[in-house]
Amino acid sequence: MHTTYRESIHELIDGTIGAIRRTELERHLDECAECRSFLADMKAIRQATDSLEPLDPPDGVWLQVAGRLRQEGRVQALPTPTPSRAPRYAVLAIAASLVLAVGIAIGLLVTQFRTPSGPAQTTAAAPTAAAPNAPPETVDVESVEAEFRLAEQHYQNAIAKLEQAARLDQAASGGDNALDPQTAAMLQKSLQVIDQAIAESRAALRSEPLSASARDSLFDALKRKVALLQDTIALMNEMRKGNSAGSAQIVDGLNKS
């Protein structure tokens, strides 16, 4: 075996041999049966290799990968929208319909707690006024507590989804609807004030679980946060559309609120 020609034969198989070496090799192959046999074997191996088919993994592998990524919190439930205009409108439309639907549900629930003569407040106040541990009224109080937690959860869900919608829209914009520093600072400060009010209302409710005023304060704060997030999304939408008048109107409203 002429080992000096082996390299050339491999290059010939790969199609990378230069013209000069190819001529030299062909001349050698005319004279050397051993190298011709080696070349034939290499071609046979290459031909067999070409017949190897690609292998597809079972579908379950992707499902397991996706499941693990979700478990690890490495991916978000909603896909990040692309920066094209249509998907961003879609995100805003979803956010708007979501807020409307949740808002109606919350409105109905909050009305129960807000109405001075409403069943929730009356029932909740009854134990302290009359028989504090009477079983039927205790059940009523627990029921009121459960409804209250449900109403608060609706608010929290709305806030979480609005925050996500705002983040998605901001990410999708690639910065072209970034808020100016002054407005961003104002929004940030408003959010801090509202979060502080939420924290204080919760603290008051912990010490006085049946306090109607503490509940009202909490719902007020949660409602203000929903409204602020709605305005933030609307502002980004107007800025993206290049509507400076609309943006200024929203900012003005935010400053007054």
């Binding site: 046979a44 191996i45 992707w62 439930a77």
Partner: protein
């Protein structure tokens, strides 16, 4: 927005797109490296989870496909290293017993090589050689890309592929009549 950037942002749909584009190629390599589809499935999961974790470190110096091949072959080689010490023995045999690569009987060109014969012979290649051969001769990467994927020099890639072909020639020549394969 680039696919990688969307994956970095936690977009699952983007990562599924990346998975669909590359899973088949990586699974083919993993199957043939490990010789066992069940192990390859488990490893494929780990490869993509690892890819997702490491995407922040992907700077685009290599093509995404080459980067993924590198992750995959590293996983395969780590797995094989932990599985058996015979790997190094085979590598030694490849390096030291050059004369054994000569065909034991007639040339391969005179008979057809079945896919099963080839798969069996591939399974007997030393791990490093097999990885280089699979990437170059089966997956169609250039030596430069194989070198990037395996973290070796381009010349080493060439020599590993050439050694793999010689070893296959030896193994397949012995296959007829129940020889080496």
């Amino acid at each position: 927005m680039a696919l990688v950037e969307r994956c970095r942002r936690g977009d699952l749909a983007a990562f599924e797109e990346l998975y669909k584009a590359h899973a088949g190629k990586l699974f083919s390599v993993a199957c043939r490296m490990l010789g066992n589809p069940a192990d390859a499935e488990d490893l494929l999961q780990e490869i993509f989870l690892s890819a997702h974790r490491k995407l922040d470190g992907f700077r685009g110096e290599a093509a995404l496909g080459t980067w993924l091949y590198r992750l995959a072959t590293n996983h395969c080689l780590d797995y094989l290293r932990s599985r058996a010490a015979r790997t190094s023995q085979l590598t030694d045999a490849l390096d030291d017993e050059r004369g054994h690569f000569e065909p034991a009987r007639g040339g391969l060109a005179e008979r057809s090589i079945t896919r099963m014969d080839l798969e069996r012979a591939l399974a007997q290649l030393p791990d490093g050689c097999r990885a280089a051969f699979l990437l170059h001769d089966v997956q169609g990467l250039e030596h430069r890309e194989v070198a990037e994927a395996l973290g070796i020099a381009e010349g080493t890639s060439k020599s590993q592929v050439h050694k793999a072909r010689l070893r296959l020639r030896f193994l397949l020549s012995g296959a007829e009549g129940g020889g080496a394969v």
